[in-house]
Structure formats: structure tokens, C-alpha cells
Symmetry: D2
Subunit: 304 residues, 4 copies
């Protein structure tokens, strides 16, 4: 498979559409990103890699971080985690309160905001130094100690995060938050503020394309059963209210963030990250969705 030729074709095809969509603007730090950024990095099972564009520039990974905290929480809590968050796709927007009310404070899945806030709460209870431990975990998976939080983004999220504040207080009222709601949100906002490049993301996510082993050291970090579980949740819940659409068009498990990043994995084949800050109406990178659809179409490969 000539992945580089395919990536080059995707770049040529899609670059003309780069202005479709809207950059996330709910906090100033995200609004000021250059909307014309576009990059892809694909890391293969055989350790080769392919890329184009801004694949090495760092951006705010936002909700992609929810996969990291989920992996850690699942390792720490095991099945007990599922008493506090379900694994069903949500029928509504990523920050909806209606389903949460109906389900009495148990979020539909760990990738909507409410669900990831519950996951953050479990880490706060289980870890001595949650902020440091999370960062170290990601750095280790990536083999890169330079990965860091963006303090300004975290602070800005906190200053504007009224809806997330509503979510965490609502779940606290219903008994599904153990720690102080403000502490939980602080950690959650830090988690979302991690900055990484496509290259870093694709390498890090190789964990889920490599049966739970580190892409470089081949250390077994999580077991293959856990990989199956995490990938399954990404497949059904990774794209807010557009999970079905992504699955339908791309056919790979993946996760997106409002910073314009999307990461997807093809187990035993590759891990790929794409970045383009312009979002579609559902909050997912418009060009990123297209790039990944073209990738699975042009390679003729998907999990299906």
C-alpha cells in the first residue's frame, strides 16, 4: 500500500475545501488559531510513517484527551467504572442535560462531557497526583517528555465553562460526583488543554492499533481485551452526535476534539491523526472527517 501517495492525493483533493466550517470560538485561545492549518500523520504497524502539511505543529487536543483518562480509569477501577458511566451512544449533543436527567445522573458514555467529567472524578479519587500522573502517562505512551498542558487554555475554559459547571453540579446533586465539583472541573479543564501534534497523537494512539503494546518499546501497557473495549467505545461514541455518521463514512474507531484534531486507529494496521481547525455543525473537524473518509476509501481498508 503506497500510503504516502494516498496522503498526497488527499491533500491535493481537500485543500481547496479548507475554508468550510467554523473555528471553535467559545474561548479566545481556540478562536485565534490559524484556520488554514491542515496536516496528517499516519504511523504504521511496521514502524513506517507518512505525513503531509502541519503534521508536526502542536494544537489543543481537547476531547481527544478523554481517551487517555478513560484508559487510566479503566485500568484503575475495572468493571466498577461502568456503575458510574454507561457505554451507550448518546442520542443528543455532547453537552446535553436532558439525557443526564432521564438517566438520573449516569452519563451515556465516557466521551460526552458529562461522562468524561465522571471519569475525571474517579481519577481525582484514585490518584495522588492526577495532573502529573496523567501527563506522565501520555508522555510515556508517546515517548516524548515535552508534552504539556496549556495553562492559558485551561484558565480560559474555567472562566467560560458555565455549561460544564452545570453538568458537574447536576451530577453532584444526583450523587455521581465524589469530589468537590470545582476540583473536578479544574482537573478536567487541564486535561482538555493538553497540546500535541498529529505526529505525537498518532504515535500515542498506536497503543490501540498494536494490541495494547507501546509502539516503540513493545511493552504491553494494557491487555488486548481492554483495547477491544476502548476501540469499541470510540467506534460507537467518539464523535458526539455524529458517531454513526463517522462510523458510516470512515469505518474506523476514532475520537475528535474541538481543537480540530481527529485520531483514528485501524487495529493491526495503523494509527492516524489529522488536524484542521474548521469544524462542521456537529463540532467535528470538517476536513478531518473528509480526509479519513478518503483514506479508508482509497486504501479500500476499514474494520468493516
Amino acid at each position: 500500500m503506497d500510503y504516502q501517495a494516498i496522503l498526497n492525493l488527499i491533500e491535493r483533493e481537500l485543500t481547496p475545501d479548507i475554508k468550510l466550517g467554523k473555528v471553535a470560538s467559545y474561548i479566545p485561545q481556540l478562536a485565534k488559531v490559524d484556520p488554514l492549518k491542515f496536516g496528517v500523520y499516519l504511523y504504521c504497524h511496521d514502524s513506517t510513517s507518512y505525513q503531509f502539511g502541519d503534521s508536526q505543529e502542536k494544537f489543543s487536543i481537547q476531547s481527544i484527551s478523554k481517551v487517555f483518562t478513560l484508559i487510566i480509569a479503566k485500568e484503575l477501577l475495572g468493571k466498577d467504572l461502568w456503575k458510574r458511566v454507561h457505554v451507550e451512544p448518546s442520542g443528543t449533543a455532547f453537552n446535553s442535560l436532558t439525557e443526564l436527567e432521564r438517566d438520573q445522573g449516569i452519563p451515556r458514555n465516557p466521551f460526552i462531557n458529562a461522562g468524561s467529567i465522571v471519569v475525571a472524578d474517579t481519577l481525582l479519587s484514585a490518584l495522588d497526583h492526577p495532573k502529573e500522573d496523567l501527563l506522565k502517562f501520555v508522555q510515556k505512551l508517546c515517548g516524548d517528555d515535552s508534552i504539556s498542558y496549556n495553562e492559558a487554555v485551561a484558565a480560559s475554559e474555567k472562566a467560560h465553562g458555565y455549561r460544564n459547571k452545570a453538568l458537574v453540579n447536576y451530577m453532584k446533586a444526583l450523587g455521581n460526583i465524589d469530589n468537590d465539583p470545582d476540583d473536578v472541573l479544574n482537573f478536567y479543564f487541564y486535561q482538555c488543554s493538553i497540546v500535541m501534534s498529529c505526529e505525537q497523537l498518532s504515535k500515542t494512539f498506536m497503543l490501540l492499533a498494536n494490541e495494547g503494546r507501546h509502539y516503540k518499546t513493545q511493552e504491553q501497557v494494557i491487555d488486548p481485551q481492554s483495547v477491544k473495549r476502548i476501540n469499541s467505545i470510540m467506534q460507537t461514541c467518539g464523535f458526539y452526535d455524529e458517531a454513526g455518521e463517522f462510523s458510516y463514512r470512515v469505518g474506523l474507531p476514532g475520537k475528535s476534539g474541538v481543537g480540530g484534531g481527529i485520531v483514528a486507529v485501524h487495529p493491526k494496521h495503523y494509527s492516524v491523526a489529522v488536524w484542521s481547525p474548521m469544524l462542521n455543525s456537529k463540532g467535528n473537524s470538517a476536513l478531518g472527517m473528509k480526509a479519513l473518509e478518503r483514506l479508508t476509501t482509497l486504501t479500500g481498508l476499514s474494520i468493516f
Copy 2:
């Protein structure tokens, strides 16, 4: 892979749990089935097959038929189909009216009742002899002309189908049903009444594990892109409000029916059908879910 040994182990492990759950009882024809029936049939990409128990006894496939009508409608209408039904997982029960009201008559996906009724409506408009054509399509895929409707089941569904009647009339009111609502329901109830065995189902569904080719003749019936789409929808929407749970535990695209059947496919590997009439609280075969979870765990293989 010694599939037969794995199946034998699953049979031994699960048979003691056979009485968990409840047989569907909303129509007398389903209620009188023997609750202790249990069978599996697995058909491999290399034309070998493995089985145990009641794998050759016919049962009411019910909602599994929704995959057949979807395949036909997708071939006939192409992208126009998605103007009338979405491909997003539903956050509520399979026969809910609430989401339908919120989404103004466009069902969330083709595997909830409302969505399949819309699909039935498109077939009524597009085919000269929908009932005959559907049956011929299934017979051809299976290579077995004996597959038939069960008139008594269809009649009983009709006599008790008040909720489906509500759904079709509601969508008619909102402009998403072209034909007479009663005609649409008649066809829909026939579709659900098809009787097939695990063996027949697994062979028929090989289409989706064999890149769109007939399991025996290798004729290309639908193109590989369509297979990717259909499998994706099964993955995210195939199990009512339990799609995420099934995906999480089993990790394969699949579809269940209230008759107790479940079919699942592992693309390029196998197609498998299981039958056990006792249902869990979500309306899916309790033993069937467990059998498939054990299958992907024991083989160590899933799409993830």
C-alpha cells in the same frame, strides 16, 4: 483456529444459564416457542462451517430482516435514502416516539422500528412486487428457495401492532411516509415474519463478511463500499438501546431480533448466527449476547 472446539466449550459453559431472560410474548406466535432452544452456526471465509445445538431449526428472524430491506433500499435509492432516515445510534428504546418527534419524523437509523418502516415505504414505492422481491433476494443470498414468510406471525403482528401503527401514522403526518400507512405496515409485518435457521442466516450474512460477494457463487452482489456502510450501521445501531454494550462486549457488527436470533459478521473471517429465545431486559437474546462475547474472547479476534 479450532472453531468447533470453541463452539463446544461455549455450549458447555452457557447451557446452564439457558433459563435466564424471558421469551417475547407480545404476540402468541412468539410466546409459544420452546425457551430452551439454543444453537449456533458459524460459516467461515474458507467455506468451512461449525455448529452446535438447534442450528438448523427455523425461527422468526424478526428485526434481523431489517438488514435485508436496508441493503435493497440502499442499492435502489443510493444517497437519497439518507434524506429519510439517519444513521445515528438512538438514545432511547427501539420503538420510542420521543426522538421521532424531536427529529421531525426522520428516524435516527434504519434499525429502529420507525427507520425500518421508512425503508419499507421506499421499497413499496420502488418495487413492483415488494413481498415477492424481498423473499427472492433473501433466497438467492442464501441459495435456498425454501425460505418463506410465516402468515400467522404476520397476521398476529398486524392484530397487535398498535405501537407500530402509531409510528407509521406519526411519520405520515410529518410527511416521511409516501404510501398508505396500512400498506406499509402490512409489508413491514411480512418482512418481520420471515423464518430462517442459524445455518441459513449465517450463510446469507456472509455477503457482509465476504466484501459483498455471494458466499457460494462469489458473485459480487453489492460493492465493498456498501458492505462497509451496512456493517458500520449494524455496529452502531444493531442492538436497540444496547448497541454500545454489544459493541463493547462482542466487538463485531451484528443484528438481533426478538425471536431470539442474533447474527454477527467478522469481515474476511466469518459470519455467525446464534439462536436462544430468552431475551434480556433490552429485548436481545441473553444467551446469544454471551455466546458471541465468549466467541470473540476465546478466538481473541474482533474487528477492534
Copy 3:
């Protein structure tokens, strides 16, 4: 109180606004009404009466009929009626299915469509000749045997009544309809097709402004406790999703219909009916709402 002078003032003030709103158009029989019709008839406790405009022209009373069937059902069933329909205002549109699903088939109140369909079902079970009995009851209250159904309107409602068909079948599925759904709807559509003038309506509704006694014969038809109950339900539920707005602006119990009629009562003072076919966005007569608001403002009298 010089009611006639007040009515004259209202006519002068409001006639310029007569073109605001839209005539109901979901069935042709209602769409073809003259939109410029405007009339008021006010019948006083002391048997005097006042009017202007088209106060003696008959129109389709539609949902105003729901008060008549409720009165009869309450007399026949007593408290048992409230096992099948609640008396709480609805938070959604008059024909919503969402609340009905949440409340498991028990309608919020007898004045939304679902509630009145349940009331119709009780009359079908309790009366030998429901159609004839209903008409006789209204004729007797009004002292006018000429009141009749409009067959064309009833037939047209039936031909277009998909949403009501959805409602009745849904409640049948949930066990809150005893009779055949089609029979219930037939009766319901007849009930809605009654034609009456403002004069006839105001006289008939004197029952609820005269402590349960006939306006002319002073016969005690229902007891004062029942009057309190019925008026209370009109106050909180009489105007679909605009009950609070009407109560706020007018301050009287009342009931509207999509034919453009509104009737309201001031207990121990008067009964008033207004007709103007142009509806506001909530489906209530735009001019009718204003006329009654002016009436209680100019008289300085309301129940509050």
C-alpha cells in the same frame, strides 16, 4: 356595567388588526372559511345579552367540544376518570407524543388531543348511542335542536388525521384505550365537527357561569363542585401551550378551538364567546385572545 359600549369599543379597536394570524389549513373545510369573520356574544347572569359582528353565524367549534365530552364523562365516571387522564397543564404542544411516552400513555389533561381521545373512549364504552347522546346534551344545554355535526368536516378530519391516529394507537398499545382505535377516532372527529354560533356557545356555557344550572330553565344539570373542577381545568389547560398566557392576560377560564372560536366564563357574571378564524402561532384565535383581554381590562373584572 355598560357591556354593549365595551363590546363596541373592542370591535372598533381590534377590527384593524383582523388580518393578523393564519386560518387553520390542515383540512380544506377549515381553510375555506372567510378570514375576516369577527363576532362576540356575551350572555349575562341576569339574562341580558350583548353582541357585535358575526355573532350568530355558525362555525366549526373543534376543540371547544372537548368541554362537552369532559362534562359528560365526569358525570358518568366520577373519580375513575382521573385514572385515565390527569389534570395537569401540558408543557408541550397540543398534539405532542413525547409527554405521552414519558407518562406511559396517561395524557396530561382532557383538553390536549390525547386526553380528549381518552374521554371519547370512555363515552364509547358508557353510552349506547354516543354520537346521538352528545348532540342531544349540547342541544339541551343550548335550548336549540338545530345544533348538528358537519359530516364533511368529520370526513375530512378522518382522511387527514394521521397524527391523531398515531395518538390513539399509541395509547391503545399502552392499554389506555378500551375500544377499537378507529371507532374512537370516528367519534372524536364527529365531536370536533359540531357547528355552533357565538350566541349558541355563550348560552350553552352559561352552565359553567351559573353554578351548574341551565341558563334558561335553571335546572341543576351538574353540581357546583363539578363546575369548580371543570372551570379549573379550563383555566390551567384550556389553551394548549398558551394556557398560562391566556390566564395571565385574560384571567378567566376558557377554551379555544382551531376553528377560531374561544369561549370564556366569569362565574356568576357572564359567559362570552368570540369568533375570528385567524390563529396565532399557538393555534388560538389571535383576535379572540385580544378581545377577551380587552374585555376583562375594560370591565376591570376577572376571577383574579
Copy 4:
């Protein structure tokens, strides 16, 4: 009308049922109230008054305070108030987030928590000393300078008020809160902590039974149109999800609080307050509801 005899009869009839229901327990300060307290105070248009039991003991008025803030906000903002809160009855519980999400942050009415929080926000913007001004207003209406806040209750509400915190932050996210959410909640919790006796409440609420005039000085505090509006909102929205039931059984505008108080007015006749801390499942005083139903039944008088 021998009101005292009627009150005596009510006391005799209902005292045996005094243990039905449950005292509010979501904050310790409310949980420790004596559940056997029971008192009524009725103040007549002719300045006579009648009472029994614990009618002069002070209790936490809680949501009854929402009427006071609404009156002030309506005077200060006029019609602009209705851009930020509707006057429609709510179809769900008093602290629901679902309707708020559907209506994009505009609460259904000023008597559900979300609505009263918006009202509190308007007072914070419009008044220099909201806490002092509110208290002075109530003291003046009652003619009693001893009325005060309960600091312990306010502090306890704040410590446990996660759900209200969710509500205010959610509305802030949707642009319907101008001030800092914590400041708004602080004021709101103070407002709810006012302690008053039945005697004080009934005298204060004479404003709404006396066409807007002070019960003692006869000063015109608000105009009669405003009285009509406020009473109308109490009628349709005063009892959470039980407004229809209260209206149906009692037939008077009123307002309840989780402290077990209920106040109701019969315009031009009387104002009445009842206190019994045991609540029914909807959060309204069980005995209070019964006492008022008996009152309007035994007097044969209601607004209907």
C-alpha cells in the same frame, strides 16, 4: 359565613391525618422541624381574622418568597421581564433541566427554581441593596419589622444547592443570567430563607386579595392589573408539577413552599395561610392541600 366554625371543623377532621407525608430533608435545618405542627390563619377583606393551631409560629417560607421577588421584578422591569421568563405551567418537576434545555435557557415560569433564579438576577441588577430592599418590602406589606432571614438556612442551602448551581450555570451558559452565578445564588438562597408565620403570610398576601392595596393602610402598592397577572401565574404555576391538581381541588390562586407552608387568596374575600411540614410526593404540604380543599368546599366559595 362562620369562618371560625369552618376552620375548627377542618382542624378536627384533618388532625388525625397529620402524619401523612415526609418532612423536607435535603438540608438539616428543614429536617429538624416538628412534623406535627399544624396551623391556619385566614384574614378577611373586612379585617376580621380566624385561626387555629400553630398559626403564629414562624417557619421557613422557602418558595413562597418567589411571589415577593416576582412582584418587585414586575414593578421594576414591566414587560421586559417576560423576555427572560415565560408564564406557562411547567410539565415537569420544579427543578428540571430538560425543559430549560428545550427552551434554550428561558424558564417556563417564575415559580419553578430556574425562573425564580432569573428573577433574582434581575433584582441584583436593578436594586442597590437587593437583600435589604427585599426584606423591607415584605416587612412593609406585613406591617411587621421583625421579619428576617435565617442565616443558617441560607448557608445550608448554599452548601447543598448543587442542583440550583447547575441551573444558574446552565442559564449563564445560555445567556440568561447577567450577574455572577454565585452572587445570584447567594441572593436566591437568602430569599428562600425568610421565616414568617401563617398570620404574617396571610396579612402580607392580602395585597393580592385586596386589589393591590395594603391590608391595613389601604395604600395602593401595585395596580389591580398587576394583581390579576400575579394571581393568574399563581393559579397556573404555583404548585410545581401539581398546579393543575391544586387548582382542580382548591380553585384558588396560591403558592407553596417545601417548608410546609401554603398561602392562597380569594380576591375580594380573604387571604389564607396554612402550615404543616409533612409534604406529599410532589413537595407540597399534604395537610395544607387538604385544608384548603376543605375550606373552599365547606364555604362553597372559590374563584370558579
